[in-house]
Symmetry: C2
Subunit: 222 residues, 2 copies
């Protein structure tokens, strides 16, 4: 409806889920000193179609130049701003088993905007030790140290996940990334995203089993 003053608000969920992918592709271009890309080039790098990319970007406003393309730096900034990455986010990893340990030093988290600031465990034998340069604390300490808004990454065993989520919510966490192979229930207003290895493998298995069915549609990786 309102055309001129930027079509804000109400970005489709499907678009939001792709913005981080575009951002990554843009950074890759930037690191190769490319500072102008066409929707065609960016779409290929992101594994989507150019028309879809343009439609996605149109939801944040008009940051491209017709006949020319998109300025890599400018577009990166606009997407970052839209995603709320103009300030840093603090991350707490809950559960210092194998996975939590690995996540604490995983380079994928080092992406600009997210900083792992707390490692939490309830086992007294682990609390107090240092992992990846951070001291492991317990929930009581997290409550004291983390008054601001933080994102919690659940890396506990499944039996402990619900309790950990409850405690995280009690501390004020409103966003949870759940790696535990189980569901957690949270109060309204708290968002949970789930990363489930078994689920991903099962989906792959389904497609491989079906074999050369419709796999042409998925030739390019995201």
């Amino acid at each position: 409806m309102s055309t001129a003053p930027a079509a804000r608000r109400d970005i489709p969920e499907a678009t939001v889920a792709r913005l981080p992918v575009y951002l990554r592709a843009l950074r890759s271009f930037h690191s190769r000193d490319v500072d102008l890309v066409s929707s065609e080039e960016l779409a290929e790098a992101a594994g989507v179609r150019s028309a879809g990319l343009r439609k996605d970007l149109s939801h944040l406003g008009s940051y491209g130049v017709r006949g020319v393309g998109y300025d890599v730096t400018r577009l990166s900034e606009e997407i970052s701003r839209e995603l709320g990455l103009h300030h840093d986010w603090s991350v707490a990893i809950i559960g210092m088993g194998n996975l939590g340990h690995a996540l604490a030093s995983y380079s994928g988290f080092a992406t600009r905007g997210f900083k792992v600031r707390w490692l939490v465990d309830q086992d007294p034998a682990i609390v107090g030790t240092t992992i990846a340069g951070l001291r492991v604390i317990d929930f009581a300490m997290l409550a004291v140290e983390a008054p601001e808004s933080i994102i919690a990454v659940l890396a506990t065993p499944p039996e402990a996940a619900q309790a950990a989520a409850d405690q995280a919510v009690a501390v004020g966490v409103r966003s949870i990334l759940n790696f535990a192979p189980c569901m957690v229930t949270v109060p309204e207003g708290v968002e949970v995203r789930k990363v489930d290895l078994a689920t991903e493998l099962q989906i792959l298995a389904f497609h491989e089993e079906r074999g050369r069915g419709d796999e042409t549609s998925l030739k390019e990786a995201r």
Copy 2:
């Protein structure tokens, strides 16, 4: 259309992505000795709506009983069969850094049907060592030992991911789960699914930033 002989083939992608979730919920019911569930109960446990659940299940055939519900064991078997879990899948983890190390012993992989059978790295200093009870091998050895169909889990640093994917494909891998924070390009016929921590965090950040916008629609975790 055809009612009796089961409505096979062509299960919607969105449904396929939810079947593993239903399977997990069913196993949870089973472990609590519940052997009959209504679509309402199962949907709540899976974090979806009952009508959607019933539509999803209708794509595999009619395994429920009107006025009664679904037999937990029966439905688990049907979904498992549909997902191709009636036989075991061999998994090779590529890249034995922090993450690969953690994945090698992650309980989420222990889900029935998937067995980590190979750990692969290209660093001679790591090849030959034993992690989680398995000897780390190189690609040459993988080519010798793995003639059958396997699923590869990429856990390399981003710089090494494309080369690792190429080598995996050369060995015959047709399904890849990519944990590296980058995209990989593969030939047609090979499927890649991506698990991207930064992406998930960015989506969470977006929603938290928007705050109390439309979060009522996401009150329950998957």
